[in-house]
Symmetry: C2
């Protein structure tokens, strides 16, 4: 198989072309209702304006870092960084294009043809994102692999590719998170609470921004996050293999290339498995939607594992490596299911019950559930590390992460389906498509919430494992045999690293607060100054709200981004490589804990509110419901801004450390 | 000075006798108003019932652990454990006795003689606790030292003393925290919100329980916490010295005893300095109360540092050791002041401002402030570690902690003054002593809130440093030269340790929720079933509420306690000493971060509410005030139950590890 390396980028290209065909098949569907066209155009425009302005700012950052890397590391690393950054931006762009075209068509399909067709359109939109992420990642790393085997670049140069992906991810996640929640909170606070109009009402000037937010936060942000984990896990595994032998595996100069090849081959198999999974939805679309998505995901995972077993065997590698891959795949699934339980099972009922005694008890019980929810996923990650290491050393930890992320083509497709269904619901409401249509989009949206919860858990789990893999790669690359916790420098690093996620948590939550406040003022102003708006006789100035969110997101993403990129450099050069190792461990630990705590508390509050809205404890308008709404609002920045930022923070810090390793 | 070792326990005894005289001087004051006698008797009875029942349960636990330690470690360790546990219980008992006698007399002094006399009585009550803690600790460790120098026990046996103190501390802190907040939240939810009666109104059946809660949580719980840090830091330093030479200090078999003596000598000096500080209040009492407390604290610190310099010099030890002591003392003061700023400075105004847009934004900004507040104290701790280590190796970290805690006699006195002033306010209100008296007790109470904030910061900072010292002692005692973060077992330990504080946070918050709910039901029942209660014609059944809090606290403290004691044993024996090392590091990191986050968020919410109650943004009854009340209620278990539990958790886990070190 080592001779067939040229095949890998070609398979990546096939994936990308498939995504292109799916996109065209969506565009081909004609939207007939002019109101729907208007609304979807507004969302599309808002999303594209945000992307353009975001990428303009990022271009400056990317070029600056390219220059620095080229000067201080190698020009090849700088170029790899550039390609990684561009790939991530491209994936985000493709995903957003598809999402803003698929949303309105899902709405139309729900109206005209029913749930099966609507599911199919929404999933197709998601698949464009999923396949783009997987394919662009594969093309990048496989070309890098070919350049490396031909002696054109060093193995360490490839790290630049992951750093490029990571840098974009941070800004996309933080910026997207601030965007979506400032719009959401702003729209809700005035719309539902003060003006007394329902969600997604066309009179509310912030609704378009709210729907754009779903795209830029949940699609582009999540896509960049997963793309980063995907690329990061592959490159960490390559770096560990390149650093040579371990206690468990016998990596020699002769067989090293095989170990380096395996992660690339594995994701190639994963992409093929994902393509089959995506295709299977056409067959499965008449099943209940939840079952259809689940079946296709499991199908892909099983196919990839079968291929992995074959690959490990035919490359003549230790069978234990397959054990590590299997454990990684299993772990991803289990963590996803745990998240689903915490944000959908009995903890949600416990939170809903606490709404009986008011807001305070609702907040307390939500925070308690969030704290509780950290334990099981951490135990799963710990078990994965132990098993993977025993099977295949540090390489096992890396390849387990790759195993978890191998079928990203399908998992990301399922994930990106959610915001499309959410948008479709908004468009149906704003266009007045009637109760029946809304009930179809509601049920697709509810499924989207479940897949989003699973997706979030998966994103955290994969980030944790990827960060640990990158961390191992860092230690191996710097040539550290010990990061000794008895050494006070390491303890100091641990403390500094541990505090960073809290600091970023504060920054991002405060940003949402500020931006939401500006949004509230603007919406109030429009209701006051635009005559006839409340009566539905005049149109709101939605572009202004879009602009407020855009500006706030772009302004507020800069500081967290710089903190994440610069602290490893400062600590590494100032206190040395072992202190930096301690810092990475501290940041990963507290970052993963906060990510789980915040994401799950937020998700559980959200669903407790939905439970009450569905009639529990008196339903909408009851005192319990009012308490639940507050919990949901607190949970919004928790689950969609600050929590997800942690994923990127820990990966980005690790990859920056890996890239600057030659300087230490 | 090594020849005068018999003097140390005698000085401890002098401290204890001074505390006794102060207590008698309080009791001598006759309470004239029969209503006040009744109320104070009810509080006293409630507190004593709680202590008796708590100590009955603890006796079983203590005897069981005594047996286990005697069987598996040494009988001497078991005995040391027993003495440590009894000392902690005794300190708690003395403190509670003094508090429940001083509260009513403070109230009377405020009514009859004005603020200076009231301050003096309240502070005397606190001083009984402060001096008891310092003296009992000194007597225990100095006698252990004498037994050790005479070859009767091993240095490692002394660890049992710290473990005894720690075990009691955990139950006292967790039980006390659950007690005080279930009563507080229960009283507030029904009293203020539903029945519309003010705080501490005699018609509310839960007010007595609420006031008992101030004693058992803020006095006994805090006292046990500080006692544990005090004893733990001394013993960690002894253990480090006993383990022998280090990179920085040249500890030989000949001079080892001098290094072991220093911490004991240092706290002896600290106790003398504290006695002078306590006495100085008599001279300073006509100053403004805040200035008086501050002056006496600083006076003691300066005296102790002067004595420390002298001691280090005359013992012929390296001067760098004094540098470490100085850094520890400084660090304790700075962390206290940082806490005061976060719970009293501009962050509080920021939270109050966020109440304008409702509860949700208030909660979000409080959580953000809590996260932000972790950074500066952690940087201070990190700086202390670096400086202390550079001056005097691992021994420096231990002795810095002792330096921070050396003047515990005065810092704990100031701290224990707070709940007495709080109680005095409650008694004045319940006895109808009139506006003028209430205004005096209010101003003393406000000062108490400030000292409580500083005390909480100090408790966290000292817990962190003590835990790190114990951790170093553990590593040295087991003979580990490396706890390597590249070793997956250590990473697994780190992850498991990191999750424990979140788990304990969940348990304790949920316990408060459950207990508060039971209290709400009972208060509602009494208002419903007792005719004339609302009109003030009938008396509420306060004993029943006291019983509910007592039962809940005792029941709910067991699980967190067992988790903290057993996990180090299980991980140490199951995964080995390096994994246990990783676990301690993980637990300390995430425990300190959560402690700071929760304590400061809670304190800031509390003071934001007070700011609004003092007229900001419309004052009491405004919408902003309603939002602020919810934030305060969420903050209650944060700052008084879950946050403080972390301090003990991290110390207890470290000390248990140190004690079981011979088994590993």
């Amino acid at each position: 198989m080592t001779g067939m390396t040229v095949l890998y980028p070609i398979i990546g290209l096939v994936g990308l072309i498939s995504a292109g065909f799916i996109y065209l098949s969506i565009r081909k569907i004609e939207v007939k209702n002019p109101t729907m066209v208007d609304i979807s155009e507004a969302i599309h425009r808002g999303a594209m304006v945000f992307l353009r302005r975001e990428y303009t700012i990022l271009a400056v950052f990317v070029l600056a870092v390219f220059g620095i890397l080229s000067a201080f590391i190698t020009i090849q690393t700088g170029l790899a960084f550039l390609v990684g950054a561009c790939s991530s931006m491209l994936a985000g762009f493709f995903g957003m294009k598809a999402e803003t075209r698929a949303n309105v068509r899902t709405s139309q399909a729900a109206n005209e043809s029913g749930i099966a067709r609507a599911l199919s359109v929404a999933f197709s939109g998601g698949a464009v994102m999923g396949l783009s992420v997987a394919s662009l990642g594969l093309i990048g790393v496989s070309i890098a692999y070919i350049l490396y085997t031909n002696g054109i670049i060093q193995a360490s140069d490839i790290n630049g590719f992951a750093m490029g992906a990571s840098s974009i991810a941070l800004f996309a996640r933080v910026g997207g998170g601030i965007y979506t929640k400032s719009a959401d909170v702003g729209a809700d606070l005035v719309g539902k609470v003060e003006a007394g109009i329902p969600e997604d009402d066309p009179r509310n000037p912030a609704t378009i921004a709210d729907n754009v937010g779903d795209c830029v936060g949940d699609t582009a942000g999540m896509g960049a996050d997963i793309f980063e984990s995907y690329v990061g896990s592959i490159i960490a595994t390559i770096a560990i293999a390149a650093a040579g032998s371990s206690a468990v595996l016998n990596i020699t100069e002769e067989n090293k290339l095989t170990y380096i090849l395996l992660p690339v081959l594995l994701v190639t198999i994963g992409l093929i498995a994902s393509l089959i999974g995506v295709g299977s939805i056409r067959v499965l679309k008449n099943m209940n939607p939840a079952a259809a998505l689940r079946t296709s995901t499991i199908l892909s995972a099983v196919l990839m594992l079968a291929g992995a077993l074959l690959a490990v065997n035919s490359l003549g590698l230790e069978l234990g490596i397959f054990g590590a891959i299997f454990m990684g795949t299993l772990s991803g699934i289990v963590i996803g299911l745990l998240t689903e339980w915490y944000t959908g099972g009995s903890p949600v009922r416990r939170i809903a019950d606490s709404c009986r005694t008011g807001v305070a008890t609702n907040i307390i019980s939500g925070l308690a559930v969030g704290m509780q929810s950290t334990a099981a996923p951490i135990l799963m990650i710990a078990a994965t590390i132990l098993v993977a290491y025993n099977f295949a050393g540090l390489y096992g930890i890396g390849i387990a992460a790759v195993g978890m992320l191998g079928t990203v083509g399908i998992t990301m497709s399922v994930d990106a389906y959610g915001p499309i269904a959410d948008n479709a619901g908004g468009i149906s409401e704003m266009s007045g498509l009637g109760k029946e249509t809304r009930s179809i989009t509601d049920s697709l949206d509810a499924l989207g919430n479940t897949t989003a919860a699973i997706g979030k858990g998966f994103a955290i789990g994969s980030a944790a494992l990827t960060a640990l893999a990158l961390y191992s790669a860092y230690a191996k690359t710097v040539g550290l045999t010990s990061i000794n916790l008895i050494d006070p420098l390491v303890v100091v690093g641990l403390l500094l690293g541990g505090v960073l996620p809290f600091f970023i948590g504060d920054l991002t939550m405060s940003s949402v607060g500020k931006a939401a406040f500006a949004m509230v003022e603007e919406v109030r102003r429009q209701f006051r100054d635009i005559p006839g708006l409340m009566e539905g006789k005049a149109k709101p100035d939605t572009a202004r709200c879009v602009d407020i969110s855009t500006r706030a997101a772009l302004k507020e993403m800069v500081l967290p981004g710089l903190v994440a990129v610069l602290t490893p450099v400062i600590v590494g050069l100032g206190l040395g490589p072992t202190a930096l190792g301690g810092m990475l461990a501290g940041a990963t630990l507290s970052g993963v804990l906060l990510a789980l705590f915040m994401a799950n508390a937020g998700g559980a509050w959200d669903n407790a509110k939905k439970l009450i809205e569905n009639g529990y404890l008196g339903g909408k308008g009851s005192d319990a419901h009012k308490a639940a709404v507050v919990g949901d609002t607190v949970g919004d920045p928790f689950k969609d801004t600050s929590g997800p930022s942690m994923n990127i923070l820990i990966k980005l810090m690790s990859i920056v450390s890996l890239v600057i390793a030659p300087l230490l």
